[in-house]
Structures are given as C-alpha cells and as structure tokens.
C-alpha cells in the first residue's frame, strides 16, 4: 500500500512538473518570438508618426493613427462602462444586500454576458449602426466596445465588493446614511483600488479586441478629430499590415503587436499591483 502511494506520489510530482515547465517553455517561446521579431521592426518612427501614403504597400510612417485611435476607443468605451457599470455594481451590493436570490440571478446573467464572443457584439453593433444611419466611425466603435467591456467592469467590481464585510454596511446604516451615501461614500472608498482594477481590466480588453471594431470603427490613416470619423485601431493595423504583399510591411505588424502588448502589460501589471495593495489593507 505504501509502495503504491509512493510511486503515485513520484509519478504525479514528475508529471505536474513536466506540465508546468513545458508550459512555461512554450509560452515563453511564443513571447520571445513575437518580441524578437517585433523589436527588430520597431523604430521610434513607428510610434510617433502616422502612416504616409501607401504605408501598407511599403511606404513610410508609423502607426500613430492606430495607437491614438485605439486609445480613444478604449478610453471612451471605458468611460461609458464606468458610468453605466459602477452604479449597477454598487446597487447589487448595497440595495440588494438582503435579497440573495436576486443577487445570484443577476450574477448569473452577468456571467453569461461576459461569455458573449466579441464578434457577436460586432455583428450587433453593425446592425445598430445601420439602423441608426451611422457610418463607420469612432462613435460606433466606442459604443460597440462599451457594450463588450461593461459586463467585465461590472463583474470584476462586483467580485471586489462582495469581499467587503457586511458589518461595514450595517455600521453605515446604523449611523444614519442613506443607501446612496453608503454606496458612494463608504463602499467606493473601501473598494476603490478594486474599482481601479476593474477599470483597468476593462480598458485592457477594450484596447486589444479586433472582432468588435472590425465592422464598426472603419479605418483611416489619419487621427480622428471628431466622433464621426473612422478610427484606426491597433489590432486592425496589425491585421492590415499582415495582409500586405511586401514582407517588410508584414514584419512591421509584429512591431505594432509589441506596442499593443506593452500597453496591455502596463495596464495589467498596474491592476495586479493595485489589487495586491487592496487585499492587504482591507479595513482602514
């Protein structure tokens, strides 16, 4: 009996170690290739200049149009997500604190929303666009991406809020606050870094997604100055560069990918740092 257990122990330790290390190897390999190819093609020009004519055909310039466009869309969409999502998450946790079943139903629906593929949002956004008579524009892109990331914001923020002990609510009510005051003055303060985490996560998702902006935001070589103009986005910039017949332009796609990855990396590292800070100093 002991022998068998010992063998089982060794076997599984080996197996899991093998799995972990080969995983690290493969994942690291992918990152390495992308970064090596990307940095090779990366130049300062790429970041600070928009493309000149025929960029996808070998011309000069950079992807500033896509960087700015992506930032505009992600920031705009995140703003909308915050305006709509923050009150909703707070409501679930403050006003509905007594109704557990309602809370669970709502959480299930939110989970389901989170799972909807971005292409469905893209298809819906396109239909909406036609219905409202909009052309491919920054606004259409922002709305579609907002639809995509609001559930992410709400759910993440909600997760954070659930870890706040109920005692805090009750103390707040006992001291005579209204529900709204409890929500905005007390819960927000307590869950603030969690809130920032949720915002950053939603932002990160919004900036990197291709399927939702493919039909809705259009594309341009210029930096959009108003909401009605089409906007370039980094994922689409990568895609179009990869579609060029010229190999040098295809190499540049990796550089754009590196830029996007670095932006997302900064965002998620900040989110991780903040959530670590949050979990340590829970009750001030």
């Amino acid at each position: 009996m002991n022998r068998r257990k010992q063998i089982e122990e060794i076997v599984f330790k080996l197996l899991s170690g093998l799995a972990a290390y080969s995983l690290i190897f493969i994942l690291g390999f992918i990152i390495l290739i992308i970064f090596i190819k990307g940095f090779n093609a990366l130049s300062l020009d790429m970041i600070i200049k928009p493309p000149k004519g025929g960029y996808y055909y070998g011309g000069e310039g950079g992807v500033l149009n896509a960087i700015v466009g992506s930032l505009y869309i992600a920031i705009g969409a995140t703003l909308i997500a915050v305006v709509i999502g923050m009150p909703a998450a707070l409501y679930i946790n403050v006003h509905l604190i007594k109704q557990k079943r309602t809370q669970n139903t709502i959480r299930y629906l939110l989970d389901a929303l989170w799972g909807i593929p971005s292409i469905v949002y893209g298809a819906f956004g396109f239909t909406l666009m036609l219905y409202l008579g909009m052309n491919a524009s920054l606004l259409a892109g922002i709305i579609t991406v907002a639809l995509l990331i609001t559930p992410i914001l709400v759910r993440t923020f909600d997760e954070v809020l659930t870890t706040i002990p109920k005692g805090l609510h009750e103390a707040s009510f006992a001291l005579g606050s209204t529900k709204a005051e409890t929500a905005y003055r007390v819960m927000m303060k307590q869950g603030f870094s969690g809130f920032i985490t949720a915002v950053l996560l939603a932002f990160g998702r919004g900036i990197g997604d291709a399927a939702s902006v493919l039909f809705t935001a259009g594309y341009t070589d210029l930096i959009p100055v108003n909401l009605n103009e089409p906007a370039a986005t980094l994922p689409l910039a990568i895609f179009f560069q990869l579609s060029s017949p010229i190999p040098e332009v295809r190499e540049r796609a990796y550089a754009a990918a590196v830029i996007l990855t670095i932006i997302i990396l900064i965002v998620s590292l900040t989110a991780r740092l903040l959530s670590a800070k949050y979990s340590k100093s829970n009750l001030k």
Partner: protein, 312 residues
C-alpha cells in the same frame, strides 16, 4: 458627483464634434474594399493630394465583399470592387464606375516537382474546373504525364472576395463552389501555396508579381492557361515571365476575360459629395497615366468616355 461631471463632459464633446464635422466630412473621402484595388487607389490618392491638399483620404482594404457591404450600407463613400456586379446588388441601387483592368492568375509553388511540365503544357479551363470545383481531378498524375502520384492540395479564399468570385466565374461557378482549404486574404493564400509544393491556388496580379522588379515574387509560380486547349503552351500563350508581358496580354484580350476583370468603384446610388465626384473624374482622366506603372491595365479611350458620361 464625479459621474455627473463626466456625463456633462461627454455631452459637451458629442455636441462639439457634431458641429465641427460638417465641413470636414465634406472634404473626406472614405474608401474600403478589394485588396486588388488597394495599391491603385493609394497611389491615386497620393497624386491627387498634390493638387488638392485639403482632401483627406481614409482608405482600408478588407476584401471586395466588404467594400460592397460598406458602400451599400453607407458606411463609406466608395467601395473598391473587383468582380462583376450581381443583379441583387443592382437591385439594391448600386452605382458603379469602371477604373482599370487586372487579372487573377492560377498559382503554384515554385517548389512544385512538376513545374517544368506544367509550364510547357499548361492546364485547360476544363482541367481547372475539375480541380477547383468538381474535385474529379485530385492527383497531379492525372494532368501531367508522370508516374509519381501526388495529391493536389487545393487552396482558395475564405473571405468574400473578388479574386475568388472572378476565378470561379471563369470556371462556371461561384465562390462558394470552389472546394479547397480556405485561407484568409490574398497574401495569406499566396504564402500557403508557395509553402506547399503540391498546392494550387489563385491570386491577384499584384500579389504574384513584384511591381518594382516586374518578376514573380520568390516562391510563386503561375500555371499557364492552355487557352486553345491543344495540350501545350504555344508562344502566343506564354506571357507569364514578366509583369509587362502579362499586362500586355490582358490588354490585348489574349488572356481570357474572366479571369481578367474590370475594377470598379461602387457606391449607394450616385455619390452626392462633390469631392468624391471630382476625385472619380480625375481618376478617369489624369489618373489613368499612373495605372500602368502601378501594375494594372488602363481602360481604352472609348471606354473612358463612356464612364465619364456616367458621371454626368
């Protein structure tokens, strides 16, 4: 409180941009569509901007189908289109202008072991049909007198595009009848074929030939079309070694039409923006001198006159 301020700022931004946009929108030309036309329109936009610097162009590729969908739905001003316009599209009120001519070429890898025989004998329209549509020929040994059996790996385009529809048209079918591995995009297909020595596919001229050298891109080869069906490629059928020869053959009508095809701008009804109409007029007059050097066949003068009439 903070959310309220944010909302106010948002409303302000929206109103502000709506006011400013009218004049700017008038001076912007939004184009999307076929990979085939993309280099041409980009070249045109560069030259046009030299005389009209206030006009802004927003050009993106994405395939002929996307161009038509975007144009008909009004999300862009002009769609770049690279196949024949269907009745359904005409019923939807599409307006179109011919711009230039180019061709779709059948491609194989330069590593194909039967290359020299293929170049000498070519394949006929029926043989292409059997390979791409029926699937009744699926081994290289059936089309080339050879003892080595090797399965033909057929590649086609997965995205709704002009190249596939035009090629299918040549073979008497539609894009959905082409049976093969679907690769996204022109360059993707070119790469897949060049990497597979038993592969066969098709591409737009600009993705087969390098515009700067006039020669085929490394890894790519073209299967000559046996136009007169005599089992070998005669001198008059052999024009695939340089881009200039090929374009000449297309211009003279020797290369079959399809898979040679006209390229169009499409729009939902006649464009209302003055800037757009001016641009189109320019492409049909002064713009035509850039067509050949961009790797396309210009329309002849009679045809141009007809098109110009359509503008008025």
């Amino acid at each position: 409180m903070k959310t309220r301020i944010a909302i106010l700022i948002l409303i302000y931004l929206v109103i502000f941009s709506a006011c400013v946009s009218k004049k700017r929108a008038e001076e912007a030309i939004n184009v999307s569509g076929a990979f085939a036309l993309y280099p041409m329109v980009v070249r045109w936009s560069e030259q046009y901007k030299k005389e009209h610097p206030e006009i802004r162009f927003n050009i993106s590729a994405g395939g002929a189908g996307k161009g038509m969908a975007d144009a008909l739905s009004g999300t862009v001003d002009l769609g770049m289109f690279s196949r024949g316009i269907t009745k359904q599209e005409k019923d939807k009120g599409v307006w179109w202008i011919s711009l230039a001519i180019d061709a779709v070429l059948p491609t194989i890898s330069s590593d194909n072991p039967f290359l020299s025989q293929l170049r000498a004998e070519g394949l006929s329209q029926d043989e292409f049909k059997s390979i791409f549509i029926d699937g009744s020929i699926n081994d290289w040994a059936e089309v080339i007198s050879s003892n080595n059996k090797a399965g033909i790996m057929v590649y086609t385009r997965s995205d709704a595009c002009g190249a596939a529809e035009t090629w299918a048209d040549f073979l008497g079918g539609k894009q959905e009848n082409l049976d093969g591995i679907g690769i996204y995009g022109d360059p993707g297909l070119a790469e897949a074929v060049s990497k597979d020595m038993y592969g066969i596919g098709f591409n737009n001229t600009n993705y087969v030939f390098d515009i700067n050298t006039g020669k085929k891109r490394p890894g790519m080869e073209v299967i000559p079309i046996d136009i007169n069906n005599n089992g070998k490629i005669d001198t008059v059928e052999s024009f695939y070694d340089s881009l200039n020869d090929l374009l000449k053959a297309v211009g003279n009508g020797i290369y079959p039409f399809p898979p040679a095809r006209e390229l169009y701008f499409v729009s939902n009804g006649k464009p209302v923006k003055q800037a757009v109409m001016d641009f189109i007029r320019w492409t049909l007059s002064e713009g035509q001198k850039y067509v050949l050097e961009a790797g396309y066949v210009p329309l002849d003068q009679a045809e141009l006159n007809i098109q110009l009439k359509n503008l008025d």
